[in-house]
Structures are given as structure tokens and as C-alpha cells.
Symmetry: C2
Subunit: 274 residues, 2 copies
């Protein structure tokens, strides 16, 4: 066998996708906050496409390719892709008179519930659809094939828990906590370094995959530089939930990482219902 | 909303995929006959690629796109795609010196078990992978994007049971049977007409999707023109199974179409163990 080696190995990343299906605890039924952010960012994305997209990168006789990184199981990803396709369509209509066909790629972890995603696809969607399994911290597409790379409320998920925070001999050891809020500065630094590494991996991969002149659109929860972690509004939530989860972990001897995911879901739920 | 209408609506087709998962009754563990056909057709496919593929259709700086229509859940589709990628790689190595990157699309019904397919993907695959949900009797890809369209042991599955065979007022009414073996000539004609309609839909869709000069590779079980249906080797199997299934249908009042799929699986199992 002399074929080229794979560039899609993601064994170094932890695959912990959102809850699949469409049940009570599914992402599909617990992602109103993410939907809110899709809606809030729409006008900015429309404006970016209107002002910065150069339609010369894809003649209307060719295929316009868009990928949503960290799509989960819907319905938010369908709304985001619909909005983007519509904005591009308007741009082509105004400037070219004819519109290319669209190929939209839905990406998430290999263990994401793609079955639910696929059966939920809008029946009258204005694009051809494909699912792309794998970590967005690695290469997922051939070189220079995407015209728009999009990711909404996904890039804050780290590829792994920083090793130092669970190393008892490290100054960043984060005993009894699940987050960096109100923890030692070294803990914050450890999470921050992991995020820097992850976003670099993401951008390096997309730099290969997106055509010259294409757009990368990222919606991401963030904090101001001058706001110390201890002043984050989510602090008390993380502390209470972290304490509960640590007690549960002691009781059932379950793995810590399993609880981390739950914590974020609960936080979103509480915020929405506050 | 002014975007172009979808061309991927497959509401007119019946989506009855293979059994998912990797359990005892799964397609993954009951598809040795299909694997046998992949192996038997390999040398012919290698030869077709060596002799008929014009590498000018895809410069090595671009992406070579291959789709497997009716992939089910593996592992046969991975073997077929590996063989094809390897043959193309050799062709490029000999004629160009450099090889394009490969994008391989795995297609099957929307209700196919893509979750199992994705977690089974070979970790060191020499291509980027995507799943494409939908009936291969409809358009699934943008115009002129595929360089090779492949389908193995899939196109004999009809998009629907011919209406006449379950219409008591039709001369093709096929009372008490699940197949055309040993049935009236009108029944054979009804199935034959449905197949002609389906293969035409498949080829029309691929004609739009495959680039000029691309290859369409189909492996399909078939019977000689001069062999009457009543002389098919599978006749007795269909008769016995059909009789059992009709009895079961009467007992549990289940839908007839649910049993048709089981019948084919049993037939393959019996053939392999004969």
C-alpha cells in the first residue's frame, strides 16, 4: 500500500460530544442559549458576507462549499447554515445574476449523533448536505476546498483537560474543582494555554482547507481581558456544581471528565431560566 | 427566502436501510457475500481505472472525489474505497509523479446507521471522509463534482414495491408472494419496470454529478436474459421464505414491506452456508 498517510488522526483529542437524540436531556432540546447566539450574530455575519466575501473565489458555475464546525445534532446548525446560504445567495444575485450550487458540511466529533442530525435535516434545504466526523482541531477537508468555515459556540470546548490540573505534583493542581473560576492563577494559565494550543490547531487546519479569499466565521463566548476569573458571572454556578459533582464522583467512583460536560449543560439551563 | 429550491427531496422513495450497529443481526456481521463481490470485482475495477481513467480530469493539485452509493455501515465500503484509492494513486504515481488529496463520500439512506459507519472508519485512511444521507435515486451532490461514482451490490434494491403487485385489481397482483419468481409474467414485468425507472433515476442523477470523463462503477447481481425467472436458483428460497413471512404477517398484522428486507438477508445467509 503506497497511498499517502492520513492527516485526520484525532487520537490525541478527547471526543465528548453533546447529548444525542431528541429526548428531554438532548442537546437538540437544551440549546436555546446557542440558538440565541446564532440569532444575535446573524446581522454581523450578513454584513461580513456582504462586505468581505469576494464572489470571484467561486464562479457561479462551480460549487460553493461551507462547513459548520461543531454542529452537534441541530436544529441550530440548520438555522445558521440557512442564514449563511441566504446571505451568499443575495450577494450572488446582486453581483452576478446567477448563483452556484451549495454543498454544506456538518462537522462534529466522530461519536456525535449524526443519525439524529441527518433525519432532522430540513427536507427543502437549498443545499446538498454531508456529515464530516472528526475533531475540528485536526484536518478534516482537502486543501483549499472550503469557501466559508463557520463555528458557533463550539470553540470554547477544549480538546482535553490540561494535564497539570489533575497532576497532584503540579502548581496548577486544581483539587476539588471543575473550572478555573476562583482557583489559583496557575490553573487559569493552564486552561488558557490549552485553549491557545487548541485555537492554533483549529486555525492551522482551516488555513489549509479554506480557499484564498474565503471567510472564517467564529462565534465564541468570551470574557473581557480586564475581568478576573473570580468576577465571572458563572463563578457561583461552577462552584456549586463542581462541589456536587465531586461528591458524586466520590460516591460512584465515576470518571471526573464525564461530569465536566454535564456541568456546562446545567449552567446553560440555569442561565436561560434565571 | 429566495434561495434555490432543493433537489434532494426523496419523499417518493422508501427508506429501508440495512440493519445498523455491530450486533449479531447487523449488516456489518452479515455481509460476507457482498464482501466476496467486492473482492471478485477488484481486478476489473483496477483495470478500468488503469485503462479508462484520464487523470487530466483532476490535476494533482486539486481534490479527487469518490462516492460510494449504498455504503451501508461497513466494513465492505471501506475495503472498496481503499482499493479504488490505491488504484488511482498508482495511476497518478506512474503518469504524474504526484497524487491529489482524496475526498471519499459514503452515501446511504438518511436512516442508515451513519453513527456506526463513522466510528468504524479506518483510523489511518488515505482520504478525507464524509457521509451523505439520502436516496441514490435522487440528486445528492452538486453538478460535476465527483470523479468516480461507485456502487456495489446496492442498485438491485428498488425505491419502492411496484404498486401493481399489491393492487388486487391489477393483472400484476402478486397475492401471497414476496417476489416475482414463479409468479405471473405481469408481476415480473412490474418489478422489471420499477427497476428500469430506478436505474434511470440513478443514472440521470449521476450524469449531473460526475465530471466529464469521470467513471461510474457498478457491481450488481444479475441474471442472464435467457434465464426465465422460474429457473432462478433462489426460487425455492423465495417461495419458502415468502410463505413463512406471509404467515407471520397474518399473525402479527405487521406491514408486508418490513418482511421483505429480512427475506433478502436470510437468503444471503443460506447461500453463504450452503
Amino acid at each position: 500500500m503506497e497511498v499517502v498517510p492520513s492527516k485526520t488522526n484525532s487520537s490525541t483529542t478527547e471526543a465528548i460530544p453533546m447529548n444525542g437524540g431528541d429526548g428531554r436531556n438532548s442537546y437538540a432540546n437544551n440549546s436555546s442559549l446557542q440558538r440565541f447566539l446564532v440569532d444575535r450574530s446573524r446581522s454581523m455575519i450578513d454584513e461580513a458576507i456582504a462586505n468581505y466575501l469576494d464572489i470571484q473565489i467561486c464562479p457561479s458555475s462551480e460549487t460553493f462549499r461551507i462547513a459548520d464546525f461543531g454542529c452537534s445534532v441541530g436544529p441550530n446548525t440548520f438555522i445558521a447554515m440557512h442564514n449563511i446560504v441566504e446571505a451568499i445567495h443575495l450577494k450572488y444575485r446582486d453581483e452576478s445574476g446567477s448563483t452556484p450550487e451549495f454543498h454544506v458540511y456538518f462537522n462534529d466529533h466522530t461519536s456525535n449523533d449524526f443519525n439524529t442530525l441527518f433525519v432532522s435535516l430540513p427536507p427543502e434545504k437549498p443545499y446538498f448536505a454531508a456529515g464530516v466526523p472528526g475533531s475540528f482541531h485536526t484536518r478534516l477537508f482537502p486543501k483549499a476546498t472550503l469557501h466559508i468555515a463557520h463555528s458557533s459556540t463550539s470553540l470554547h470546548w477544549l480538546s482535553q483537560v490540561p494535564k497539570e490540573v489533575s497532576d497532584i505534583n503540579s502548581p496548577a493542581y486544581n483539587r476539588g474543582r471543575i473550572h478555573y473560576t476562583d482557583a489559583k492563577h496557575q490553573v487559569f494559565e493552564a486552561y488558557s494555554a490549552q485553549f491557545a494550543k487548541d485555537i492554533e490547531s483549529f486555525l492551522h487546519a482551516r488555513a489549509e482547507e479554506v480557499v484564498c479569499g474565503g471567510l472564517v466565521i467564529i462565534t465564541l463566548p468570551a470574557n473581557p481581558d480586564d475581568a478576573p476569573p473570580s468576577e465571572l458571572r458563572t463563578e457561583s454556578l461552577f462552584d456549586i456544581l463542581g462541589s456536587c459533582l465531586m461528591d458524586m464522583a466520590k460516591t460512584v467512583r465515576a470518571q471526573f471528565t464525564h461530569f465536566l460536560l454535564v456541568c456546562f449543560r446545567w449552567e446553560e439551563f440555569v442561565l436561560l431560566n434565571a
